[in-house]
Amino acid sequence: MRILLFILAVAAFGISLGGASAWYSIQTIHGFGAIRSGPWTAFPFAGQSEVDPYTIAKSVADGSVPIGATEGLAFEAVTDSGGEALQMSCDYVLEGKTPPSKLWTLVAYDRNGEVAQAAPGGRTSLYSGAILRFPDDSFRISIAERPQPGNWIGMSGQGSFRLVLRLYDTPITANSGLISTTMPQISRGDCR
C-alpha cells in the first residue's frame, strides 16, 4: 500500500512539475542564441532551419511566423533601458541608431499581441523611410499620449505594451552578431 502511495505521489508531483516547467519555458525562454542589446532582444536562429525544440514549440503554441534569416530580424523590448516594464501610462523617449538594414519598422503592441490602439491623431507604428533624423543619422522618437514634436508614437489605453523593431534585409543575421548591434535607448519620462 505504501509503495502504491509512493508511486502515485511521485507521478502527481512529477507530472505537474514537468508540465509547469515545460509551459513556463515555452512561454518565457525564446530558445537559445539570443542577441541582447540594452532592453532589446532578438532571436536570429528562430528564422533558420536548425531550430531548437523550444523555439519550434513556442511558434506552434502562439501561431507566429518567424521572419526568415534572409528577410530580417525582429528585436523586441518589453522594458525600458532602466529595466522597468513598458507602461502605456508613461511617456518614453527612444533615442539612438539602429544596426544597418535596408529598412526598419517600429510597432507598439498591446499585451494581447494586437497592434496598440492609436491616440487621436497619432499612430502606433513608424517606418524608417518616413522618419525625421539628426544630421548624424540618429533619431529620436517620443512615445506619449499627447502629440509631440518630431517623431511621435501616440497610444491610448492602459497596461503594459511592447515595442518590436524589425530590421529588414540586415547583415546582422548573416554574421551571427559579429556586427555590433547598437540599438536605440528607451528612457522613461513622466508617468500619469
Binding site: F13, S25, S59, V60, E71, T105, A130, Y168
Partner: protein, 197 residues
C-alpha cells in the same frame, strides 16, 4: 526518513524531466493553433491568398502593419511547387515554412534573381527527376530542395502608406502558386529508332 525524502525528490525530478521533454517535443505534432493550421483553416492548397482584408483580423500573429501578407499552402509529396510574381520595385520577402512553422528557406528582393519572385520547391526525391529533365522554363528560377511534405510560403511586401495599396495589391495579385512537375526527358529520336532497325 531523510533518505526516503531524497529518494522521493529524485524520483519526482526524473518523472518531471521526462514529462517536460515529452511535452516540448510533442507540441509540434499535436498543437492545433500553429501558423500552418490557422492558415489551413483560411486558405486553399495551391492558391495564393492575400491575407489583409481590412475588416478581418489577420490569422497570423505578430504581423507588421507596414507589410501586406500573402500565403500559399502546398504539398510536395506528388509534385513540386512553382511560385512566381511580377517585378516589384519596393522591398518584398518570402519565407518557406514547414507545417511546424519552422523556416526552411527565405529570400528577399535583393537576394532574388533580377528582383523577381521566382521560386521552385521540390522534395529530395522529385528533385532528382528535375535534375534529369533540366527543363528550360525554370532556368532562371531559384530551385530549392525542401525536406518536407506539407508546408506554406509567406510573402511579405512593403506598404508604407495607403498610397501604396494599389501597387502592392497588383504585385500580390500577380503571384501565382501552382503545381510543377518537369516533363519527363524526351527520348532521343536516334535511340528510339535503334530497336526497329
Amino acid at each position: 526518513m531523510i533518505w526516503r525524502l531524497v529518494y522521493f525528490a529524485i524520483c519526482v525530478l526524473v518523472v518531471a524531466g521526462i514529462v517536460h521533454i515529452a511535452i516540448v517535443l510533442l507540441i509540434p505534432q499535436y498543437g492545433t493553433q500553429d501558423a500552418y493550421d490557422v492558415v489551413s483553416a483560411r486558405t486553399d492548397e495551391w492558391s495564393f491568398t492575400t491575407l489583409d482584408s481590412p475588416d478581418e483580423r489577420s490569422p497570423l500573429s505578430d504581423i507588421d502593419p507596414f507589410f501586406s501578407y500573402g500565403v500559399c499552402r502546398f504539398d510536395l509529396s506528388e509534385s513540386g511547387v512553382w511560385i512566381r510574381g511580377d517585378d516589384f520595385n519596393a522591398f518584398w520577402s518570402a519565407t518557406v515554412l514547414n507545417s511546424d512553422g519552422t523556416v526552411a528557406y527565405s529570400l528577399n528582393r535583393r537576394t532574388s534573381i533580377d528582383g523577381k519572385l521566382d521560386l521552385v520547391l521540390f522534395d529530395p526525391v522529385l528533385i532528382l527527376r528535375l535534375r534529369e529533365a533540366q527543363p528550360a522554363e525554370i532556368e532562371r528560377s531559384i530551385v530549392i530542395e525542401a525536406d518536407m511534405r506539407k508546408g506554406f510560403v509567406v510573402v511579405r511586401s512593403l506598404k508604407p502608406d495607403a498610397s501604396w495599396d494599389s501597387e502592392t495589391g497588383k504585385f500580390m495579385q500577380s503571384i501565382s502558386c501552382e503545381r510543377y512537375l518537369p516533363e519527363p526527358a524526351a527520348p532521343e529520336p536516334a535511340e528510339e529508332e535503334q530497336p526497329a532497325s
